[in-house]
Amino acid sequence: MMPIQDSTIQIPVDTRLAMIATLKQSLEVGDHILHICQVDKFLGDESKKGLYAWNGFSKVATAIEG
């Protein structure tokens, strides 16, 4: 884990993108609650390959380009 400036929340070291966010509104949507946030800062590391959810949400892996 690594600290993020101006935040008390830490993030994993192996992160491609971090969106440091402040909640603006929450809204009940069916069986979920939607959290609407403003992003205060985006931090990215393009050398890291991001993960996606495959086969619905049952498996996580990187995306194949092309």
């Binding site: 971090a18 966010a21 069986d31 609650i33 959290h35 946030c37 403003q38």
Partner: protein
Amino acid sequence: MYFTVFRYILVDPWLAPKDSFGCFASLPESMPFKACDSQKSFISMPICDLPKSVDEILSNVDYYIVTHIHPDHIDMNLDGTVGNPLDKKIPVLVQNEDDAQIFKNSGFANVQVLSENGLYINDIKITKVPALHGTNIPCGSAMGFVMQGNNIMKELNIMEATVFTSPNPLTLICSQNNDGTTNLAPICFVSYLSFNPPMIGFATGKQSHTGKRVRETGKAIVTIPSENLAQTVMACGSSTGENTNKVE
């Protein structure tokens, strides 16, 4: 361009309850059917229950296809009529005129003989192909069929739809626990919402610890995990941070 939303074609709709038909050896003389393998003559049929109720199976059916009239492919009565539980207004496709006559005598209003030239149901072509019924000992004529179409769309539920949209965006949302430690949860219900100001949205189940903590603290870091975190992501998705510290 238009799409066909196809619901169901029911093939060989034999709907008798488990064991209700008896075995081949016990059939009356009016039903001269034999099992090719003598051992199989004594197996009580059907050998298993239907996966759903008959009403559920028959709801939304557009067509029946009956490859041949044998008592283990279509419900048969001692008087020679067939297809008792079926809705007789639904069209039936059969292999030849003999079988068509049996369906007509059984009260089916719309019986069509499928041919090698095929027929179209909207933009789906169904073509009869030869079928070999019985391997060593021939068991009578039967048909196979091939379905071809371009714009065939099937009805899905939302879970099935998520498979079609895969790969789906995946985030690992970091929030702050009561004791100041960080909690991690994989969340896929996420989207950009606005450029200016930059806004994003994510949805969590009503019981989600992540959701509760974000609403209590007003803060979250929405991260895109990199490939080394694949196992961690799945592990964080199978426990809640309510009482456990997932980071440890």
